[in-house]
Every structure is written in C-alpha cells, then in structure tokens.
Amino acid sequence: MGNIQRTTIDIRTVQSHADWTAHFLSRELFQYAEIWNSRQFQALVEGFNIEFESSGLCLAKVNVSNYPPFVNGVLDSYPNEVIRRS
C-alpha cells in the first residue's frame, strides 16, 4: 500500500480525463470488476433482449424454452403486453 501515493501519474499522459473518470467510477460501482468484459455481463445482455417497436412500444423478447424451470411461473405472472415469447 502507498506506492500509488509515491508514484506520480500525470493525467496528461492518458487518453482523456473522462476515460479515467469512467474507469475509476465503473470499478468503484462494480466492486472493481471490469464487468463489461465478463461473461456474466454478456449473458445478462443476451437476456436483456429489448425490442423497440416502431410504435414506440418496448418489448422483452424471451426464449422461454431456454430458461431454467424456476423462472417459468415468474414469466407467466407478467402481462403479454411487455413480453414477446418465442
């Protein structure tokens, strides 16, 4: 500990202040994980399959055959207006 305080890091040598802000922020918020590079996040993105209709509606596209059994009853409790099942 403490090496960072003895090491002078000139922010001018990095790409942009905003990049660094975002970098530190994301790690703090996500407990230091590079979440967007993780398979967990990629899997979440796959499930977060939103479809934007031309009418302005947003639908969740779900492939119900792929989901584990514990979720079947949960999905049934949501209205069809927001779910497009396949």
Partner: protein
C-alpha cells in the same frame, strides 16, 4: 434473484454481479435469465429491479441500444456526478474529489494527510492503476 449469494454481492446500497473468471453453462444461462427478468421488471413497472444496481441496468440499456454496434466499455459509464449522487451517495462522496482534479493535476496530489476518501480509494486501487496505464498508454494522443 439477488438472494443467490454465489452470484450476487451486496454493497451498502445496491447489489452487483460477482464476476468470476470462469462460469459454467448453467450459470451463464442463469445470468441470461436474470437479464430477462430485469428487463421485464423494468418494462412492467417502469422502475429498476431494486436492489439490483441501477448502474448495471444503465449499462444493460446502453448495451441494448448499441446492440450490433459494439460492446459497452468504460466510456459508457461516464455519467455526471450529480446522477451518481442521486443514485449512490457513498460512491459520489468518494468520486467527487477525483472529478475535481484538473486535467493537468497528478495523483501525487492525493498524498495529503489525513487521507481523503479518494486517496484511500486510489491506494486500494494500486494494482489496477498500473494495469490501466499499460492499457491506456499506447492510445495516448499527443
């Protein structure tokens, strides 16, 4: 969903995914399912699935709008301090000092005692900062 302590960790305010380096297909499917549940909750109730981190939902929405364009990265997390404060006061307290740094300041200025929340944060971050430099330096624009 977040009661699964093998997959979620719980901060002071919000819950976050545990990013293990390797996951099996069953766990990956579970994450996909969680992604769908988060989206359905959002669309049905018009609110995030508390206590899942709203920053995670934000990133998922960014990913959804960028689908096919490219994966999200750190720059997509470049949101205002006020927005962070609205959602997570503790994180905003740490990051406000960082955001006050001028572009020409250096992290050496964080050596002051008593340590600030930011200097403590940076000290904990020592290893990652070195990695960040390695990653970022080749892209330096002079």
């Amino acid at each position: 969903m977040v009661d699964d302590f093998s997959l979620w960790k719980h901060g002071e305010t919000w819950s976050y995914p545990i990013c293990a380096p390797v996951i099996n297909p069953e766990t990956e499917l579970r994450w996909t399912t969680y992604g769908s549940l988060c989206l359905i909750h959002l669309l049905t109730l018009g609110a995030g699935p508390d206590p899942v981190s709203p920053f995670l939902i934000y990133l998922l929405l960014v990913s959804a709008t960028k689908r096919g364009v490219g994966l999200v990265d750190a720059r997509d997390m470049n949101i205002s301090l006020q927005s962070i404060k609205d959602l997570d006061q503790a994180s905003a307290d740490i990051l406000k000092d960082w955001m006050r740094l001028k572009h020409t300041d250096n992290l050496h200025s964080m050596e002051y005692t008593p340590p600030s929340p930011l200097s403590t944060f940076l000290a904990r971050f020592e290893y990652q900062v070195v990695i960040s430099l390695v990653l970022f330096v080749p892209d330096v624009k002079h």
